[in-house]
């Protein structure tokens, strides 16, 4: 190595490093400088803002979202630019990656005191509240946020943190207020060609479901040269919760409260597997397996093998939610094989149960919080309020008038080419237009709520849904005298008093988490074992499973949880419960 090249190499490296560190520290100074210089102007501006005019001096808020948002485009999308133009606000957003949850990053925040201005903390909010990082929003909402107040309505109790600390630490944004489901996308699924050939038979109980599959597979043992699969479930990791264990309580009339079942009169919580009805459900699955109707590879295959089997069109029945197998179904639709797609049925164990999937949990979801690092909480709450206004909600859901939708005779209509991109190339559509990227920033109405012009706030409403059905689906629905799959479901079920328990913060210290993990491991192992067992062994295996749960401390965990549920009901409804 010649001396000259070594020297010049090290000189180059050194200067490169110095340059870069200088550049980055410049950026820091710029950022600090700009937010610093904002202070005097916003102080004067907020005085004028009180009089009602919207302050639009440029300001940047930093944000952290605990859920991944891979299509986030730094507000360079179409509606992002409009938001900045109308409110002056630019959001410098950071999202968690992959499965999200934000545990690592929020732990760092709590320990180091570095907080973003706004945060969507989901399950980790407790850590930040304990660190004193979140401000109480009660007064801010009361004084500066008329639109938020309208959305909250009478439900202020539900926004409070706990019985001991009745501050409002987050405004619920991860769901729609007064959400109505216009279509059922869960339940049990059967391929449309099966329904057509068998003359649209009644499918109300698991026995009906089984008979339909048995009859069809006897007539058509192969599909396109490959063996037909009557029933397929996805048991890959957490997806088994959706297809294997959750249907156990759905089919036996219980609503979705995560892994628990809460008695509506005593408010006692227990793991839902302990219900005798669910044993019967799993016994039915065991029966399906031993009859050869449940695919032999169910518990060893991975998610992409599951999707591939569905996309090949040879799976007659599924027990799942549409978003879970949606990709595979789209592949079928793209190939024009609409009769191989699926219809939905609210199947229950027997006719004494009703499917409670569509029960409303009321307002109970995680949302946006403002931290103590935020230099202008008043401006922030006004910004969130603007997003929650009618104008804001329409922008976030529908887009820009004339670009993403048109108003014809007073009704909002999405042009066909925009709808096509939205349905078929959703990822890119989100990235360029921004529709769907901003909904968790503020409170919003759910499907089915109409604004003062008689149009719906969201783009999911009956006419739209029916328009997106394929001809095969419409024909099948006609065979059942229904216009949407939801018509087959029971309606008018009461709102749950305890909200949705999967949103309730579970205690992070003490034995609770340890026992919870242990019981989850037992469930993951034992349920497949019970389903794959020989029919005469089923009861023994299931009894062993329940015994294992109690041995791992399930009863202690349940009593802790029951205490939390009772407190929650007290907080939400004001009832006094022992």
């Amino acid at each position: 190595m010649k001396l000259r090249s070594t020297q010049s190499l090290s000189l180059l490296t050194l200067s490169g490093v110095l340059l870069l560190s200088a550049c980055s520290s410049n950026n820091n100074d710029e950022a600090a400088g700009s937010s610093g210089s904002e202070a005097p102007s916003t102080a004067s501006a907020s005085a004028s803002a009180d009089s009602g005019a919207m302050d639009t001096t440029p300001i940047t808020f930093s944000f952290f979202g605990a859920d991944a948002s891979p299509n986030w485009n730094n507000m360079q999308d179409e509606i992002g630019k409009v938001i900045t133009e109308k409110t002056g606000v630019t959001i410098n957003a950071e999202y968690d990656i992959a499965s999200g949850g934000g545990e690592n990053k929020i732990a760092l925040m709590a320990a180091s005191g570095q907080y973003p201005d706004i945060i969507f903390a989901k399950g980790e909010l407790g850590k930040l509240v304990d660190a004193g990082a979140i401000i109480d929003l009660t007064d801010l909402i009361d004084k500066y946020a008329p639109n938020l107040k309208k959305l909250i309505g009478e439900n202020t109790n539900r926004l409070k943190y706990s019985l001991d600390d009745q501050s409002i630490y987050s405004i619920p944004t991860n769901g729609g207020v007064d959400q109505q489901y216009f279509d059922a996308t869960g339940g049990f699924e059967v391929q449309l060609r099966v329904l057509e050939e068998l003359g649209y038979p009644e499918i109300k109980t698991v026995q009906d479901f089984e008979n339909v599959l048995k009859e069809y597979v006897a007539k058509h043992p192969t599909t396109d040269g490959q063996p037909t699969i009557p029933l397929l479930l996805n048991a890959d990791d957490w997806k088994s919760m959706i297809t294997v264990t959750n249907p156990a309580f759905i089919a036996t009339g219980a609503p979705d409260d995560g892994e628990y079942y809460v008695d509506p009169t005593t408010y006692e919580a227990k793991l839902h597997y302990k219900r005798p009805e669910e044993r019967e459900y799993f016994k039915w699955l065991n029966h399906m397996y031993n009859e050869g109707l449940l695919d032999k590879d169910t518990f060893v295959q991975k998610d992409d093998q599951y999707q591939a089997k569905i996309a090949s069109g040879r799976v007659l029945g599924l027990i799942s939610q549409e978003w879970e197998y949606g990709n595979a179904e789209n592949a079928l639709k793209a190939a024009g094989k609409h009769e191989y797609t699926y219809g939905h049925f609210p199947v229950t164990l027997n006719d004494q149960y009703q499917d409670h999937e569509l029960v409303s949990a009321g307002i109970d979801f995680s949302g946006i919080s403002i931290t103590t690092a935020n230099k202008d909480p008043i401006r922030t709450i006004k910004f969130l309020d603007w997003l929650a206004s009618d104008e804001g909600q329409v922008l976030l859901n529908w887009g820009i008038e004339g670009v993403h939708y048109n108003v014809e005779n007073g009704k909002r209509v999405i042009p066909a080419d925009v709808l096509d991109k939205k349905v078929n190339d959703n990822s890119n559509f989100m990235k360029t237009t921004g529709i769907g990227l901003y909904t968790t920033f503020s409170m919003h109405y759910g499907d089915g709520v109409q604004d003062s012009t008689g149009n719906y706030y969201t783009t999911n409403f009956p006419d739209q849904i029916i328009a997106s059905y394929s001809d095969a689906e419409k024909a099948a629905l006609k065979g059942y005298n229904a216009t949407t799959w939801k018509d087959l479901w029971p309606s008018d079920l009461p709102v749950k008093e305890w909200g949705a328990l999967y949103n309730m913060q579970a205690p992070t210290d003490g034995d609770y988490q340890v026992i919870y993990q242990k019981t989850q491991d037992i469930i993951r192992k034992s349920i497949p074992k019970a389903i794959l067992a020989k029919p005469e062994e089923f009861d023994k295996t299931y009894d062993q499973f329940l015994a294992d749960l109690d041995k791992a401390g399930a009863e202690k965990m349940e009593s802790i949880y029951t205490g939390l549920v009772k407190n929650r009901v007290k907080l939400f409804t004001g009832k006094d419960i022992q």
Partner: protein, 299 residues
């Protein structure tokens, strides 16, 4: 060489065949996944869901690559990844070799103490939160320096280079001293050229480490899109199927699934992220062999 084949005993021939078979299996097992990813990245995204793509794309398309090269953040990530790999490697090499030289000199008085001290750092670490707080206090958060400065001296690399230097005859240094060279000259003109094989190895470790790291971007530079790296961009669009410790719910999962990137886009980004380092590797190969025979000493 071929004449040797005729003289192999039967035992040697059997071993030879078995050797070839095992090695071929290993090669196939290693190369196949990569070819699979390559094939899927060239395949149409809707068609990919049908599965069954092994070595050859069924519906060839360049659309996936077109789409991802349009992502501005990917281009920024490319620039930053290359910068940090080059700068991080050079800095790491220089500092590790300098420290190794000092520790290899027998006349260095604190040699034993420093070596033990350095070795201890290999086993203990502060943990995620204390390190984060340290970086915050040093104003390293949100800067490019956080990629290259912390861990600039890796104890493991120092020890590897030092062992190599210990193998070089001390006579070389003595004779250089007699000729009036100072320590720096000895280091640059005599020791370093002889260390080419080990330097190439360490350079490869450093380069691959820098190229592949995303966790530091995630922890320290997550809120700075201008400092993103290629791997972090890839991580952002890959969805993992692990369940968090909190109970997940159907509504949540549904929201997440709506944002899942198509499989073929994920594969395309994987290829884009892996290929540069793959390309660099063969060029470093020749340094492993060269430099072994330089400066022979008659001892």
């Amino acid at each position: 060489m071929s004449s040797k084949a005729f003289n192999l005993t039967r035992g040697e021939r059997v071993f030879s065949i078995a050797n070839y078979v095992v090695l071929t299996i290993i090669v196939i097992a290693t190369v196949y996944p990569f070819l699979n990813v390559l094939a899927i990245s060239f395949n149409d995204s809707v068609d990919t869901v049908r599965g069954g793509i092994y070595l050859w794309p069924r519906e060839f398309t360049l659309e996936n690559y077109e789409t991802i090269f349009g992502y501005k953040s990917l281009l920024t990530g490319f620039k930053i990844s290359i910068l940090r790999t080059v700068i991080g490697t050079i800095l790491g090499l220089l500092s590790a070799s300098m420290l190794a030289y000092v520790l290899s000199r027998p006349d260095f008085r604190s040699r034993k103490f420093l070596s033990t001290f350095l070795a201890l750092t290999m086993y203990f670490s502060g943990g995620m939160v204390p390190v984060y707080i340290l970086f915050r206090d040093l104003n390293l958060l949100g800067t490019f320096a956080v990629y290259v400065l912390p861990g600039i001296v890796s104890a493991f690399n120092v020890f590897v280079i030092r062992s190599f230097m210990d193998g070089l005859p001390y006579a070389l240094q003595e004779s250089a001293k007699l000729d009036g060279a100072n320590d720096f000259k000895i280091f640059y003109k005599i020791i370093l050229p002889l260390c080419k094989p080990v330097l190439a190895t360490i350079a490869l470790f450093l380069a691959v480490g820098q190229w592949n790291s995303w966790f530091d971007t995630y922890l320290y530079n997550g809120n700075k899109p201008s400092l993103t790296t290629l791997q972090y961009e890839l991580m952002k669009i890959l969805d993992s199927t692990q369940q968090g410790s909190a109970m997940t719910n159907a509504n949540d999962l549904a929201n997440k699934m709506a944002q899942v990137s198509p499989e073929s886009i994920k594969m395309a980004i994987t290829i884009v992220v892996t290929v540069p380092i793959l390309v660099v590797y063969p060029f470093l190969q020749r340094y492993f062999v060269g430099g072994m025979t330089l400066g022979a000493v008659k001892s």
